[in-house]
Symmetry: C2
Subunit: 548 residues, 2 copies
């Protein structure tokens, strides 16, 4: 066979940015974004993104410089996912619920040159900037205003809309030179306290966007409700993916169950994504009626308790469950559903669906291995190991952290996730915990998630999280933090909860401590912040003479 | 921004072969292939492919050697699309309707080491081998037998099934070292008489397979009827694509309208592909009832006449129309449908759908340019230029033909298709002809396809093809070859056909010669062989004193 080499005609860099051009051609007059009383068409969205990209360039932003945005799921946020990389820059979207110190760390570490700020985040950003050391260059600021924006912000220099207006409508967006060029920089937030800068490239984001559409069988022109923050792993790549299929993007500044049900009824929502906390919110609403048309929800981010899955499905949500990390830019493992499972009982079905599943069609490999030896664990649903991944959407690496990059992306060809799982005999994986969330009690490794799933079946429990508490005898024992449903506060005791678990779990897995909280500490994406709870458990000191 | 480089965890070569492993995990007990009384499950299909790959290796086949197959759409053909590349080899599927001389040219040129032969093609292959020069090494032969196979073939050494049986069930299939490694070698057949060896790589076939699923919104577990020969551009990549979604592949040795309608009813077919000749076949069947459930057909390979489209849709087929070449491994331009077009009248809708359309989601670029200057033509639906393409599924090149490769894959980054088209103001392209099919009459470039589309609207016309005939005055004039519908032979005259066209076309486009044929010469994929007709027109000699 001849030695063929890539040529320009077949090696044009893969990038998800081309989706928008095509979408404006095919679905130009169809709605792209609906936000309150504002509606744009795909032609308008493309035009606005080009003009914005031109204005970003005119501010002196160079290729591969970082441009930040801190905003909720508003139209500007969606547009910036195209406009910033259209200008050749790297988009760094920042979680709106971070504190000023963390925002300051991110802006400094990323060397961000420009930041788009939703008016509600302005105080945090100004605080963050005040913490910069005197010699550190500050980013330029652009304010994103809105109908609800107080007039006091009007005096603020450049605004988002003025940049859109002043931009060149004939701007030629800047294509990546290589498909390995960076396109996003996401700081992981939440379950640990030290954020890391995850860098993804154009190729990776093209692949995950395309894969996520196939995996979920997303049809043309779906109605997509933005209940997943775009700043969370770029909305699992649906920021670009919705442009590939000409979707209607329903944007929301903030939401609760009522807002979601209203949107579903008003706009005919067909698809939405969210952490299990969103499912929980939807299924715990009193007086909720069965949906007229089924709505597909993709959930991930934490293993959804079986009881919550079952309740949401009874309302009419069709729930798919998957797994991914900021480092994979979206879901790379999903619980691909088998027709034969439809015949099973509700709880059995929910138990199967609570598993993370198998690699997606476009992803190359997933395994559960002994982290020391790299050997695959036995596929028995019991042997615990670390989830390892490989495929085109695994990140380029951690920004300015070659050591962290090398540690997770090993020479043996695998990305080590730090998540602990089992592989079932049918080759579906089930996450048991983050490595650091595993509780080691009397030499037994026990999964906090399993204990939580039992707590969730208790009729009074709203949310539950289990962490290790030091124990003088056993080393560690499970400590449960629980919030109760409305009206149940004071009506259930610590002892009752422990007894409830005792009937359903082996002795060593039964929580030896139960703490009732009004609300559990969460990240903006609905993940319970176990590191906060772990701190609380630490302050309690070691438990004495707990019984197994 | 740090300089990140690809690492093993994110640069695992893209390949469509991984689809089968995943499919066997998720849809293991579901039917993969149905062929007469034979049914396989996906677990069985994967197992058979691994065993076959092991036997191919055991025959001494090395990485990147060519292994051929000549067979219709039978289960073995489908399996070989995984088994041959599983062994690290390159699959070369050969059109079953070629003559012995061409097969001999292909086997020699490809240096094929092994050929799998459907029993019906055995005489042709033996003939072809007898034409080998004495010093040329012949490939090893393996016979594919079948229920219908005559017992006289039994004496023939190795059979396909014995290779499956003897193979190692634990064989580890050979992953490509690079995603740019070749996976297929397809000789273009048909409209020209000199076949060229188109080489595709793993990356390209992964990308087109994934793109074709999104483009057609293919759901999970469709029922796919194999009316498109797999040897035609690897079944437009659906050979691998059906494994990505766990489809049921309905295989057929041969088919006519009755067989297709029977399969639709018996198996609940949801999807099929085919040249317009298949549509024609389905819509010209007398007494055809409206389909109970709609069946999606993807058609390409030649611009479908508007009248045929309209008829097939009235029966209940949902027709999508696209464009691709063997050199792109599948469809890279499709007539993406706009909801607003549903409101239009039948003929107007058919006129729009007869256009090839816009680039697919996963493809990077398409344009219509002046072939000399490379400048884009005006987007007015009138200015004619050459279709140029770029994207990840454009071939590696032509085998042993660096000159031909360089000529079509130019330094300016485009692949030149040799197809002539216009671009409409809405950016949808419409193919007007192969470059060589354009007729130049009195200095006017005229599209034979446009003349044909008028001929197809004549109630007596079954099929029509127009080529250039030399003309003493005008240089060239259109010459129409026409076959008539059953019962219409002898009932329509050459003069009537000319008059019919005169009412609907400008004078210079009206055929000056009309030849009635019982049947038009076609390739196995239903494309009319214009080069044969051009030869016939040549033999007629130049036309004298034709009137415009």
């Amino acid at each position: 066979m001849d030695q063929f080499r890539p040529r320009p005609a077949n090696s044009t860099p893969l990038t998800p940015l081309t989706f928008l051009d095509r979408c404006a051609t095919v679905y130009g007059d169809c709605p792209s974004i609906i936000y309150g009383h504002t509606t744009y068409t795909w032609k308008q969205t493309r035009q606005r993104c080009l003009q914005l990209a031109s204005s970003i360039s005119n501010l002196g932003i160079k290729k591969q410089q970082v441009v930040s945005v801190i905003a909720p799921n508003i139209p500007a946020m969606y547009e910036l996912y195209f406009a910033i990389p259209f200008a050749g820059a790297i988009i760094n979207s920042i979680n709106t619920r971070l504190d000023a110190r963390t925002v300051s760390v991110i802006l400094t570490h990323s060397e961000s040159k420009l930041i788009f700020i939703d008016y509600q985040s302005l105080p945090i950003v100004l605080d963050a900037l005040s913490m910069f050391s005197p010699n550190t260059q500050k980013p330029m600021l652009v304010l994103i205003t809105d109908d609800g924006c107080p007039t006091t912000s009007v005096g603020f220099g450049t605004t988002y809309e003025s940049m859109v207006e002043k931009g060149d409508p004939g701007f030629n967006w800047i294509r990546p030179e290589s498909e390995w060029d960076p396109i996003t920089l996401n700081y992981t937030s939440g379950t640990t306290s030290s954020p890391k800068g995850v860098v993804h490239c154009h190729r990776g984001m093209f692949l995950i966007a395309v894969d996520s559409l196939i995996e979920w069988s997303v049809p043309k022109q779906p109605v997509y409700l933005w209940t997943l923050p775009m700043f969370h792993a770029n909305g699992w790549s649906y920021t670009w993916g919705t442009a590939a299929v000409g979707a209607v993007n329903i944007c929301l500044r903030k939401f609760d169950a009522d807002v979601i049900y209203d949107s579903i009824n008003k706009h005919g929502v067909t698809h939405m994504c969210g952490a299990p906390v969103v499912l929980n919110m939807l299924s715990n609403t009193p007086e909720v009626k069965r949906l007229k048309n089924p709505v597909k929800i993709m959930t991930a981010g934490a293993p959804p308790p079986a009881a919550v899955l079952a309740r949401a499905e009874s309302i009419g949500f069709i729930i798919s469950h998957g797994y991914g990390l900021t480092e994979t830019g979206g879901l790379v493992v999903t619980c691909a559903w088998k027709g034969e499972w439809d015949r099973l009982q509700g709880t059995e079905r929910a138990r199967l669906k609570a598993r993370q599943g198998v690699r997606t069609v476009g992803f190359m490999d997933v395994d559960v291995v002994d982290p020391e030896s790299g050997v695959s664990v036995t596929r028995d649903g019991l042997s615990i190991g670390e989830v390892v991944l490989r495929g085109g959407c695994v990140m380029l690496g951690y920004f300015k952290d070659p050591e962290g990059t090398a540690k997770s992306m090993r020479e043996n060809g695998w990305f080590y996730t730090g998540d602990v799982a089992v592989m079932h005999p049918d080759e579906y994986i089930e996450i048991k915990d983050r490595s650091k969330d595993v509780i080691i009690s009397g030499g037994e490794n026990l999964s906090s998630v399993e204990v939580e799933s039992i707590l969730y079946t208790h009729p009074a429990v709203n949310e539950a999280a289990v962490v290790a508490r030091a124990d003088e005898f056993w080393g560690e024992t499970p400590c449960a933090f629980v919030s109760l449903k409305a009206g149940m506060v004071g009506k259930v005791t610590e002892k009752e909860v422990v007894e409830y678990c005792r009937g359903k779990l082996p002795g060593y897995m039964v929580p030896k401590t139960v703490v009732f909280k009004e609300e559990l500490p969460k990240t903006s994406t609905g993940k319970i912040q176990k590191f906060v709870l772990r701190e609380m458990a630490k302050k309690m000191g070691p438990l004495r003479k707990s019984r197994m």
